[in-house]
């Protein structure tokens, strides 16, 4: 069980190795990436920032909850901060479990709670040179510009 905020690229293969164990029959890797269009506007990049101490605390808490609820300690979450380009992985969640149903459920739980609770913000860069803070409470697509 682990979570982290990163200022470098997420090593997806390393996450899979980290949750790997012969007791597990299913491993889910969720990867959220920066998408090129949000709410009909052409996106060229994204800048992530966080309230660092609280984001770490909330992420840890979510991982602990998922572990208790779905019965596996093999959960790792990493979220990137800083400037990302299109297609870059902004978040990755690796979950391994003896059975696939609980692995899927735990993975889904972590991303949904992360989007609801973790104080991370993204400043979208648009093709016309403007920038705007993403506000999922106002957006037509509540999940923002990634992970759909």
């Amino acid at each position: 069980m682990r979570s982290a905020l990163l200022d470098r690229a997420i090593d997806l293969a390393a996450l899979l190795r980290e949750v790997g164990d012969t007791r597990n029959g299913a491993t889910i890797l969720f990867v959220g990436t920066v998408r090129d269009v949000n709410d009909g506007r052409v996106v060229t990049g994204m800048e992530y920032s966080a309230y660092h101490s609280m984001a770490e605390r909330e992420l840890n808490e979510i991982v602990r909850e998922a572990s208790a609820e779905f019965g596996t300690r093999d959960i790792v979450v990493e979220h990137r901060l800083g400037t990302l380009e299109l297609g870059d992985a902004s978040v990755a969640i690796a979950v391994a479990h003896p059975h696939r149903g609980a692995a899927y459920d735990a993975s889904r739980y972590v991303i949904e709670q992360l989007k609801r609770r973790v104080p991370i913000w993204k400043l979208e860069h648009y093709v016309d040179g403007t920038r705007e803070w993403v506000d999922p409470t106002k957006s037509a697509q509540p999940a923002g510009a990634t992970n759909d």
Partner: protein, 80 residues
């Protein structure tokens, strides 16, 4: 008592700063703190009841703030 208030993302832009130092009466609540913040230039653009965290945890408007607490006003989160 003096309380430090952190602002982030769009809220930091609206108020033109990432942190404030407010002088509050002992026993002041989150609601009292927000009322003080609203007197500042640019704060009229904050929502009526923004999310607030005290010491890294989301707080209710009735929570009493203690001297030395770290208070943060949290814009709609957009991680992922």
């Amino acid at each position: 008592m003096t309380v430090n208030v952190l602002l982030f993302a769009s809220y930091a832009d609206k108020l033109g700063t990432g942190s404030l130092s407010l002088d509050l009466e002992p026993g002041a609540t989150v609601r009292d703190l927000l009322a003080r913040v609203r007197e500042l230039p640019g704060a009229d653009r904050l929502p009526h009841e923004p999310l607030v965290a005290v010491n890294d945890r989301y707080a209710k408007s009735t929570q009493v703030i203690a001297s030395g607490d770290e208070v943060a006003i949290i814009p709609p989160v957009a991680g992922g």
